[in-house]
């Protein structure tokens, strides 16, 4: 058996690849569910019901999808330019803590119409700065950003942990390590009453379209794609490689920082070290499932959110550990990589 590079990448295959990958991931985790002694189809039905069965659960799923969309976009933008930003998790935390600090300590009751945009910009900026450091290391000393961005995640979380136990500690939290809260004026408006769904979802969706527009229509988009596909040829053609990467990093880090900012301003109100159940890392899976397409990110983040929100109900009813959601998500990354391989190669005998 041999693999042969395809001359043409069939469009139908490229589009269906994520669906096939998800199907395969579900089939494999189905085996695990069966081993756990639960009926597989019913388990998936319960996950779906848990995620969309009621008004509350549907809004919860969308709320959960919001930061995932942003971290997914952050990864997709960076990966397209071959900037391996594995640090969305850290950028999310610095975005979050920046927003909490700025709102509680600086802005106070500054009017929402001014405070909210300011906070969003600050959160995004914090994420940008946090990614520009490893990028600078790469451009200046050729340090691999996979390593630096990954390790900076731990720096971010520990930094946050220190801040919320010291200067930013909320004195009214009965000694729990949590940050002071974003003021009412800094809180994102709700989209629906009696739910946690907030305006952040709209921001994320709009940004997905904006990123799509930038990538497909602008000179910068063309340059960043060229730089990602073949840096030598792009440099030969005069694409400013360093500058392009800096802008890509600013967008990517900004989106991840925004994810943290929005999560704090829309849902949590304050920062703890368990603000993110791995949103930054899930963003990588989402970006791959979306085949790095910004609009695909919207759908992929919905899938991941569905799994994570829906699994709890299923777990309660059938007794299958809720970790099955993590397993499925991780498997979907692997199956997607295989599926992507087969969009480029075919089997020859």
């Amino acid at each position: 058996m041999r693999f042969e590079r395809r001359e043409h990448r069939p469009l139908a295959l490229v589009i269906t690849a994520p669906l096939i990958a998800i199907g395969a991931a579900l089939a494999i985790s189905g085996l695990l569910i069966a081993i756990a002694g639960a009926p597989v189809l019913e388990a998936y039905w319960l996950i779906l019901k848990g995620a969309y069965g009621s008004r509350l659960s549907a809004t919860e799923t969308l709320t959960r999808a919001t930061p995932l969309m942003l971290t997914g976009l952050a990864a997709a933008v960076a990966f397209r330019a071959r900037l391996w930003n594995i640090g969305a998790e850290g950028q999310l935390y610095v975005g979050a803590i920046t927003v909490a600090a700025a709102s509680s300590l600086l802005f106070g009751s500054l009017h929402a119409a001014i405070q909210i945009p300011l906070l969003l910009v600050l959160g995004a900026t914090a994420g940008m700065v946090f990614l520009l450091v490893p990028l600078w290391l790469r451009l200046r000393f050729a340090v691999d950003e996979v390593v630096t961005t990954l390790l900076m995640n731990f720096i971010a979380v520990l930094l946050v942990s220190m801040l919320i136990d010291t200067v930013l500690k909320d004195p009214t939290a009965f000694g729990w390590p949590q940050s002071q809260a974003v003021t009412n004026e800094g809180t994102l408006p709700k989209l629906l009453s009696r739910s946690r769904l907030h305006a952040g979802l709209l921001i994320a969706i709009v940004l997905a379209f904006v990123v799509h527009f930038i990538q497909s229509r602008t000179i910068f988009g063309l340059q960043s794609r060229a730089a990602g596909l073949n840096p030598v040829a792009a440099g030969f053609a005069g694409v400013p490689l360093g500058r392009t990467l800096v802008i890509v990093a600013a967008i990517s880090g900004g989106l991840a920082g925004l994810a943290g900012a929005i999560e704090v301003m829309g849902v949590k109100g304050y920062v703890t070290t368990d603000l993110s159940p791995g949103y930054g890392y899930s963003g990588i899976v989402i970006a791959m499932l979306a085949n790095l397409h910004p609009l695909g990110v919207i759908l992929a983040s919905l899938f991941i959110a569905t799994m994570f929100v829906g699994v709890d109900g299923m777990s309660r009813v059938l007794g299958v550990p809720s970790y099955i959601a993590d397993v499925t998500v991780a498997l979907s990354l692997l199956t997607m990589l295989v599926a992507l391989f087969f969009t480029q190669y075919r089997i020859r005998r």
């Binding site: 229509r217 602008t218 000179i219 988009g221 030598v232 030969f236």
Partner: protein, 507 residues
Amino acid sequence: MTTPVLEISGVSKRFGALLANDGISLTLSRGEIIALLGENGAGKTTLMNILFGHYTPDSGTVMVDGKELPPGSPLAAIRAGVGMVHQHFSLAPNLTVLENVTTGTEPLWRLRAQRSKARIRLMEISRRFGLKVNPEARLGDLSVGEQQRVEILKALYNDARILVLDEPTAVLTQVESEQLFATLKEMAALGLSIIFISHKLDELMSAADRIIVLRGGRHVAERRPAETSKAELAELMVGRTVKRPVREPHTPGSVVLEANSVTVTTGGVDRLKSIDFSLHEGEVLGIIGVSGNGQSTLAGLLSGTVPISSGSLILYGHPVDSGFSVSDAVNAGIGRIPEDRNKEGVIGEMAIWENAILERLSSFSRRGLVDRRAGMALAVRIIEQFDVRGGTPGTRTRLLSGGNMQKLILGRNLVNRPRILLAAQPSRGLDEGAVAAVHERILEARRAGTAVLLISEDLDEVMALADRIQAIAGGRLSPPIPAEEADTRKIGLMMAGSWSGEAEHAV
């Protein structure tokens, strides 16, 4: 003649719509050297991959020593004594020669490799076939020619009796090529059978016992060198008469580019050492030399990718400052044909139209947005004017053949009528038809008054195109000689670094 060592009969292989091999048959006797001649895409490499078991043929058989090889099994091919020397070597640069040769031959369950035994065996083979190597040398430290020798030794170490070489001289210098063929002839005299793929007519005529011409996947002709001519072979290969264009006399204009004692140092090494040249409108200045002697740096210097360290570069009468960038070069009307099409020239995964505009994005920008329509229009123009075949503006560039890719690169540079054209190895790896097309374009630019700096290691090419010739050796540039005074011997000496008055600097 006794039974043939190798007999390929009726082999066909289809890839999608393309019939890569169409009922090809050939035989090879013991001690015989045959050459496979054909343009790129004629099916040579496919046929050899079938022989080696990389591909399974749709029909037909491969027999070695009268026994049929199971299709699609490289292991069976190796066991039967077929050895392949690939165009791009399959060796590890960080290992020694001995380690490279023995990789894959060691039994897996042995804890320690049998180095001394292997070493003795390697030296024995090396002596018998006159392939000198140092088994302890690190492969990465060897020249390309030596690396190829190791690749051949590796095949012989595996008891190859049929040796297949895929364009063995594509990466070699003239001298190395001659050495290689001398070695191959000795090996044939010792009973090895050899097939080599080439489209260089000179070497076919001198080295092969028989020449088999493939065209469009078919076996179209078979000739012995004595009963054919280069012209006939070229015609058989292309299927029509191909004539390389000739340079007509032409008076050059004023100087557009001048280098005075230019030195370029990168990574602590002097890549160019105090070079001088001047380039006139409407002339072709040929820089001949064995690759690796500073050509890439010279090309990079004029392309705006390599900064000058000392000396001065004077462009249209004004010295170029140290920050001379790619966009400066493009804006100054320098057309650039890079030496490596795939690495530097185009981005394979992008569309033809995107590659067409990549160098001049600012001209195709409307308030930061890509002017797709104008880009498409340019691509259509290039495709029509420069006869780029095999794609529309939206086609991914990777799907073009080497010749058509080169026409696209030529097109995107020449369509704007550059004042200077930098052509680095413009016809490397192209087939005869494409070479003629590239040469025609370069001469056309010369007629239109463009100053052409041609960097090449192909002597025929330089002699055919250049008005004046300078040799590059060890980062130094010889004084120019007029093309009329150039002959193979003189240029050979210049390429070796000895030119009158400068012989003491010879490398």
